[in-house]
Amino acid sequence: MRIAPLALLLGLLLLACDDESGIKPPSQLSGFTGTITFTGKWPEDTDQIRLAAALRFPPSTIADVLLGEALPVGGDSLHYTFYTDPVALQAVGVVWKEKGQGWDATNIIGYYFPTENHLTPGAVTISRKDEMIQDIDITCDLTKVKRRVNSAIGGMLRVQGAWPPGASKVVVAASTAPLLPTSLLDLFFSFPIDAGFDSTRYIISVQPGTYKLVAALVIEESQSIGLESIKGAYYSFSGIKIINPETKKLDVDLNLIFPAGSAKAETRDSQTGPRSLQHRRGE
């Protein structure tokens, strides 16, 4: 019997070998790399910048956004590498953080655009554990930083007709562009709203300025946005004036009209996207 305690102790110590079934470092480094170029003057209230990669764009929760490490501030350009497991990203950008404020993943100062179309962010897909995608270059406009403000544009969003199948979210965007927006950097987005409502309120946090276009974009599951996503709009030649960081304009109502039969048509040909009527309520 005297052997029993020794045997037990020995057995327990033998159990105490390394267990590698837990969390481990990524075995191979995959991700993407590129150069970030900065235009404009660095704001004095810059705290940090980081690379942000969105699994869905526009993101609905912060779980949709992968934030990279802090990048050096103050230079004209820098080279970066973003490590991630294989993943399909709908957008890649650089997010700016104001001193004393929290991170805001929508405070983007530059997107990756692989083409001249700067209204649709470039998708990046890493398909293998050892894949490192090159040349994901980004140009940041430091004049596009957004400070924390209370100013907002909002209103009612009403739907007429049946929602087309495939519609997942609706996001409302306000543009500072003189005519139509030419870049995502000209747009301010609302929180994405789940499709299926009859009417709902929307609100967009905007910087002081003049906004000529407010547009509702219908997003399909797993799809990014583009000009073709706009399904309802409000256009004003004189523009909605947001005078200061406290100004709120909460009566900018929008209608989304889905004509009868659009759901059926959509069922027949899901590649074309939902058909709907663009509605303009100008002044």
Binding site: I23, P26, I62, A63, E69, A70, Y83, D85, G100, G102
Partner: protein, 714 residues
């Protein structure tokens, strides 16, 4: 009006004395039947009365103020069979002296708990499941802080510092707790954050811990949504005695070289000393502890100083007074999340140096007046202060929360089969905070519970509590929390229990008013948060199958409404909202076995749960489906060898980074102890297999560490 008040006050003061002018006393000594050694800490209860006592270091006890009559004495101690003696006849002014011999048993039994019904009762008489971490288990686990001990309790798991009892809490960034923590029956949740500060009372200052499972608001009010943890601190002994505990250790290298963030040896050490003695007519205890660590992860360092003072005095044969006070000063680094999975023990460069300083202070006054053998009045006055200041790279903030509490509780034993517990509780929270602003909150409540034995072995408990909460913004919330419980000792080897109870948790001030940046996350306020509510149902059975085998089985179901959850927005703001309707159902089993090899015992628990978010029809975030704990203990002469293994299944759902790696938690702790007279020397390997896992995203749990502990009595 004034005269009437004077009449009642006079009557209240004089009447019990008049009734009890001639009373008797039962006293004696509790000893081990084999060794004839005294058994300290045995629970001695006079059945059918509100009177009882604990045996002292020499095993002696004395129960006064007993009216002439026939009594039944019940004596129990952990590790011993329960002793019952009926028909003890007592006449006026008589003292009956008894020597009680207890027979050791390998199946732990005989626990007496005070939390489930707010009064002393045998564990097997509780209609709800109660887990007890005994003095012996606390010593065997040999952890510095209680959270590391409680994770060995059945059905319990932690997400960060948040305790989950049967999946109750999930994780909400430390803002509010769905489990109520009490120290010696007094709530110790700061008014601002409403969370549990585990470092406040080191395990060395604790006698035992009781864990009540399921909604307990019918007696305890807010926060007891998922259960109650009551930390019972050590009693002050009349005999001069000093306990010393010193431990030191170091962390192993990380399993992967990439994770190594320093060449330094990462180490920790802890020193705890307490001294008790009798001064005049009072028993006094002073305890001090110093704990420091470099941490196993970058920025994980801490330096803490704890103190506990306890003064106990028998004012009259019927009244005793306990004054206790504790404090903690804490200086610790903080890093919310790792830098990357490639550098899982490092924090982002800008967060290096982030730290929090905090001070906590608690003061409690407890007066018990046993007016007669059938009626006792307990009065608790408490004050708790929590101050913290953070030094983060991206913000500086500070908060001070003060809580004053008053509770008056009556225990009335109508007859041998009918016990009534009732009381009123008030608390004031005064918060001055850079995080939540300056606010006050007032809660007033009343509760009543009746326990009645219906038939032989069958007891019914009915109770309810009403709480009214008022916040200085004008917000008002009220909750009625009923409960019902049934216990049936069907056979000497079989006890059945069933209970239903409701619970609620009022939103903490952090959840309601936070408007700040916390580790890069912007928190925004929601002043109109409603209380979250729950109903818990449980049915269970305890079986003593063989002298060396006991089994406990229970099924449970908790329904939650308006669960307050942090909802991240796309702008990376966090706002607490009433969002979730949820249900958690499951089965829990506990096994205690002495398999036939002398000195060897096994204790095992397994919990299976189905935690559902009914709004989203998916698994609730931060809840595992399976929890299992096993302890193997072998005692051979002065040596004790033990192993603790914990398994917590992979979380199905998390909120922040659901696409990142998550694994099951598998932790093995090994202990070897050598006892020599009043001293013991022990070696410990915590997380012996160096298994790497997280409880919440991007936060690696402690890696393997080695520790030596010397403890003893002078």
């Amino acid at each position: 009006m004034r005269n009437r008040l004077l009449f009642w006050l006079t009557a209240a003061l004089l009447l019990p004395g008049a009734i009890l002018a001639h009373t008797g006393r039962i006293s004696g000594r509790v000893i081990d039947v084999k060794s004839r050694e005294p058994i300290p800490g045995a629970n001695v209860m006079i059945q059918g009365t509100v009177l009882g006592a604990n045996s002292d270091a020499e095993g002696r006890f004395s129960i006064n103020s007993l009216a002439p009559g026939n009594y039944e004495l019940r004596v129990s101690a952990v590790g011993y069979l329960v002793f019952n003696r009926r028909g003890i006849a007592l006449t006026a002014d008589q003292t009956v002296t008894l020597d009680v011999t207890l027979e050791p048993t390998l199946i732990e039994s005989g626990e007496v708990v005070v939390t489930a019904s707010k009064r002393r009762q045998s564990l097997e008489d509780s209609p709800t499941s109660v887990g007890v971490m005994t003095t012996r288990e606390l010593a065997q686990k040999n952890q510095v802080y209680l959270d590391r001990v409680l994770e060995h309790a059945s059905g319990v798991n932690f997400i960060g510092s948040q305790i989950n009892i049967r999946g109750s809490s999930g994780y909400n960034y430390g803002a509010g707790s769905r489990v109520l923590m009490l120290i010696d029956g007094v709530p110790v949740m700061p008014g601002d954050s409403g969370d549990i500060k585990w470092s406040m009372v080191p395990a060395s200052q604790v006698d035992h811990v009781e864990i009540v499972k399921g909604a307990g608001s019918a007696l305890y009010g807010s926060s007891a949504l998922g259960g109650v943890v009551n930390v019972i601190t050590k009693e002050a002994s009349a005999n001069p005695v000093t306990h010393v505990r010193f431990s030191a250790g170091f962390y192993d290298k990380p399993l992967y070289a990439e994770w190594r963030w320093t060449d330094r040896l990462l180490h920790f050490d802890d020193l705890d000393v307490d001294h008790s003695r009798r001064i005049g007519k009072s028993n006094v205890m002073v305890a001090l502890g110093r704990h420091q660590s470099t941490g196993y992860a970058q920025n994980g360092w801490y330096q803490r100083l704890n103190g506990l003072f306890k003064w106990q005095r028998q004012l009259t044969p019927k009244a005793n007074l306990t004054l206790s006070s504790n404090f903690e000063t804490n200086d610790n680094g903080t890093g919310l999340m790792w830098r990357s999975q490639s550098e899982a023990l490092s924090v982002a460069p800008e967060a290096i140096g982030d730290k929090v300083k905090s001070d906590k202070f608690g003061f409690n006054l407890f007066h018990r007046w046993a007016a007669s053998s059938r009626f006792a009045l307990n009065t608790r006055l408490s004050y708790f202060r929590n101050f913290w200041k953070n030094y983060f790279h991206d913000n500086l903030n500070a908060s001070q929360a003060n809580r004053i509490g008053l509770e008056i509780q009556g225990d009335y034993q109508f007859s041998n089969i009918n016990a009534l517990t009732f009381g009123t509780e008030e608390s004031w929270d005064i918060v001055e905070s850079g995080l939540v602003g300056d606010h006050t909150q007032y809660v007033i409540s009343g509760y009543i519970q009746n326990e009645r034995r219906l038939l032989a072995g069958l007891a019914l408990t009915l109770g309810a509590r009403y709480d009214l909460q008022r916040v200085d913004t004008g917000f008002q919330d009220e909750n009625l929390s009923p409960k019902v419980g049934l216990v049936w000792h069907a056979r000497p080897w079989l006890s059945l229990r069933g209970s239903s109870g409701s619970g609620f948790r009022a939103a903490s001030m952090s959840e309601r008013f936070s408007n700040s940046v916390y580790s890069g996350l912007q928190l925004i306020p929601n002043p109109d948060l409603k209380s979250e509510t729950a109903w818990s149902h449980e049915a269970g059975a305890t079986l003593i199958l063989l002298p060396m085998l006991s089994l406990d089985i229970s099924t449970f179901r908790s329904d939650y409404w308006d669960l307050i959850e942090p909802e991240p927005t796309v702008t990376q703001e966090i706002q607490f909202t009433n969002v979730t309707r949820a249900r958690i159902s499951g089965i829990e089993t506990g096994l205690r076995l002495q398999p036939g090899i002398p000195g060897l015992s096994l204790q095992s628990a397994y919990t299976w749960m189905d935690p559902r978010d009914l709004e989203l029809d998916q698994t609730l975030a931060y809840r595992p489906r399976q929890i299992s704990q096993t302890t193997l203990l072998y005692t051979a002469g002065p040596f004790e060898i033990s192993a603790d293994y914990r398994y917590i299944s992979r979380l199905d759902n998390v909120k922040l980074y659901p696409s990142e790696d998550r694994v099951a938690q598998k932790t093995l702790d090994l202990h070897l102890t050598w006892h020599y007279r009043d001293w013991s020397l022990s070696g410990h390997i915590n997380n012996a297999r160096n298994h790497n896992h997280t409880q919440m995203e991007r936060t690696l749990q402690p890696i393997r560490s080695y520790m030596l502990t010397l403890s003893g009595t002078i």
